[in-house]
Symmetry: C2
Subunit: 503 residues, 2 copies
């Protein structure tokens, strides 16, 4: 067989896996949006079947043989070539998938399903005791999972690496320590200033007007509705059902404008990344965003660096006022801008402002590592959480509902590897944005004029089109000319919030 | 292996096939309802893949071996037992699936996809010439398909048998000839009477009110929204995505009440059948309606025998008037009842009234048999169509758009085997309804009081719960105590339309 024929054979197999995953995404999307309650049981089975069929096809020895045969040839095309990236990334997925025995996967997914269902009841009931044995088991399984992967300095590097190809506990810890040192004095300075008045965000905001305004904004960003759509779900998400079909979901609160609006901008950022990947990568593992952190950098960039900026609102505030007649008449754009950027230490990660958000992430990162390393017992988690929230944020969770039971991640998945990507995304978003500003000239002027095409073209060229061809560190280096650094992010926060709070 | 273990093994395999088909149904539903245009290409591939995976699993030799091993044991459970029916029906599906080479299936489905796309353009363009070579090829492929099945008196019996297990060209022809003899004088008598005034059905009927009214009616029928939902599509349909998830779709015209209302009742009839199947049959080929004809009998029963009856409207007419304030104020229930039952020979099958509808079906049945038998050339089809419409209905299609190009069936599938089921459904609907009336006493009184539970319970007991355990002739015999007969249907039409037209 020629290398071309081997590549074609590999792509044929990968295409089938990709189509199975696309089908799985359709079923998952429907499950979250429109499925009637009676459909749950059959849907769970259908999803598990498609997932198994995809996994079976990925771990077939023929894939390993094709990768072996293709590797030298592909590498010779140049490390940046599609062929080299395809073989490299598929090898990574193949090794990961074959490393973990399917009996373990079965055991893990049965346990996480049970744990998730228990958590759905335990969280509203504030019943950490009910979750304790389940979480202990999850920690154990997470350790077992990490142990299947070898060659890491820290065994939990494996869990981080699953989400953030190329990142380690050590690199994340170093970044977080540095970031923390910059955030703490900024938060202290803000807390010494008078509290921002954000009452204008609470009011009567009819859902259809919120939906229409959000759609108008993300259409202007460049989210393509001929290749996507937006629906409502309990928890907003973005999902790719296939090439040309990248959907987002949002939820609305009629008594609060922020939730629906910023989650729309956020998910649109994820979606534009997926919509911007080179079509030539379709049907391969390269046809998706590269890591959770880089994905989050794009949602955060459009949500925060664009969507919570003063230039953005100089353009959109009049349309917003018109969308909700009477509600915002007495509020000027500067007051509105201050309100949507109010900094206030709080209990809930997903509701936190840009500045304090990262402290929520860091506490989760530290606590999950302590759980994995055995220096923290699950039984002691609620108290450790409370103490850390108190010391970091100066507020105290009245219960575990808004404490250790708050996020689904540990209860519906594994412990370790998920949270760091949120803050990595924030850090990268600022570095990308600073580089775009350097290259595009008057970026604020463009945003102030409602012109996002130059920014989106820059992001597409530097990030989106490459899909998974490069790792997060590579993408950062290529897009910005610098290694990953917290400097642009701290500069962004200090400048923006310094001005907002007169520091 | 014990027979119990063999049965369990068979069921495990069938469950997986059923889950693949459920997943396929989810993708198909989404394709028709919410999929953005950009998703079409990937969706086509995903659907083809799931269909292929389901087919591959069905034709596995292990299934044949399990069926062989189980047959005597299952038959010993009694012909009516679930085990016997399971082995019998799975054998039928297995034999059909293995009889046709997969290369032929591939060729057929590529051709029908191409033909369907061409028809989508050719019909609006009234361009039969463009379809001629494609339809000639379809006729050829339909003959080839029929030839794979052996043991039939007429080779085209195979095509009818695919949709109507147990029916043949001879039995259908005999029924149709008899029915035609009854319909022709009835239609002639009606045409001699003054035309019904149905202008009240054209007006301004806002979509949300149509949706709400339709939903109220089918909830009253017993369509279970916790195990289903209703959405909008270009062409209404019912689909089963899994146990507990049976959905319907409808379309609305704001200038005409009939279309949305009666298609809602029609699809709800299909859906209640699927919702009423015994859960114990889930995951097997028995867990669906038995034949197209019996399915159609249920949609027609709820749409026509209930939904176009005077007792139904005695109950629902006031709510309907209230749903469209001002529009129907000057129309009394009798005038409305006459309008929705207006008989008028027309060009379009799907818009035809109850009486003339069957003539549309019969002309298609006769023409497609002539095409298959070679007594009619595809080139001569448009003229043959026009002549038959003129002689049967006394109207003349101005073009092929509303003539030989009208229905999708021949252009997106095979020629033969589809149309007869519509009229068989009509015939059976009246036979079932008459038997229910005999058993339930004052059925009109119940319907007039908005009480459908007795009727639905009767249908569930006699028809729905059995799924595919029995063939159409068996179901008719079991449910009504009589073999299939046109007598109840002609009696129904003569009584109803005799009264309406003062014959």
């Amino acid at each position: 067989m020629t290398h071309e024929a081997q590549l074609a054979e590999l792509k044929l197999r990968l295409r089938e896996i990709s189509d199975l995953r696309g089908a799985e995404a359709v079923l998952g999307w429907d499950q979250a949006t429109y499925m009637p309650p009676g459909g749950a049981e059959a849907r769970g089975r259908q999803l598990a079947l498609l997932s198994r069929l995809g996994h079976e096809r990925l771990v077939e020895p023929a894939i390993g043989r094709l990768l072996d045969a293709l590797a030298p040839w592909a590498e010779a095309q140049g490390a940046d070539s599609d062929a080299a990236a395809l073989v490299r990334v598929t090898r990574r997925d193949f090794d990961r998938a074959t490393r973990v025995p399917s009996a373990f996967i079965q055991r893990l997914s049965e346990h996480t399903a049970a744990s998730y269902h228990a958590w759905e009841r335990a969280r509203p009931a504030n019943d950490f005791a009910a979750m304790r044995p389940l979480l202990e088991k999850t920690v154990e399984l997470s350790r077992e999972l990490a142990a299947f992967y070898t060659g890491y300095a820290n065994p939990y590097d494996a869990l981080i690496d699953l989400a953030e190809d190329g990142m380690t506990v050590a690199t994340v810890r170093a970044l977080f320590t540095e970031l923390r040192a910059g955030l703490v004095p900024l938060i202290a300075a803000i807390r010494a200033r008078p509290e921002t008045d954000d009452r204008c965000l609470a009011g009567d905001f009819p859902e259809p007007a919120q939906q229409a305004f959000g759609e108008q904004a993300i259409r202007a960003f460049g989210y393509d509705y001929t290749r996507g759509r937006q629906d409502k779900t309990a928890h907003p998400f973005m999902t790719k059902l296939g090439r040309g079909d990248v959907r987002i979901t949002t939820r609305y609160r009629t008594d609060n404008l922020s939730d629906g609006l910023f989650s729309t901008l956020h998910e649109a950022g994820h979606a534009m990344y997926e919509q911007g990947i080179d079509d030539g990568l379709d049907g391969t593992p390269l046809f998706t965003g590269t890591t959770s952190g880089v994905h989050e950098s794009q949602s955060r960039l459009w949500e925060n660096l664009v969507g919570r900026s003063l230039p953005f609102w100089r353009h959109w505030y009049a349309p917003l006022q018109a969308a909700f007649p009477g509600v915002l008449d007495d509020v000027d754009v500067n007051a509105f801008y201050r309100a949507i950027n109010k900094v206030r230490p709080s209990l809930i990660r997903t509701e936190a402002d840009e500045v304090t958000y990262n402290l929520h992430v860091m506490l989760r990162f530290d606590l999950e590592l302590a759980l994995l390393e055995g220096t923290l017992k699950v039984a002691d988690l609620p108290e450790a959480w409370r103490a850390r929230v108190q010391s970091d944020l100066g507020v105290s969770p009245p219960d575990d509902r808004d404490g250790a039971l708050q996020d689904v991640h540990w209860y519906g998945g594994i412990v370790g590897g998920a949270f760091q990507s949120y803050t990595l995304g924030n850090i990268m978003s600022a570095q990308f944005f600073a580089a775009a500003r350097r290259d595009l000239g008057d970026l604020d002027g463009q945003i102030g004029a409602g012109r996002y095409a130059p920014l989106r073209a820059w992001l597409t060229d530097r990030i989106y089109r490459h899909g998974r061809k490069f790792t997060a560190p590579e993408i950062v280096q290529r897009a910005t000319g610098q290694p990953l650094s917290i400097t642009p992010y701290l500069a962004y926060l200090n400048t923006k919030y310094g001005a907002l709070y007169g520091l």
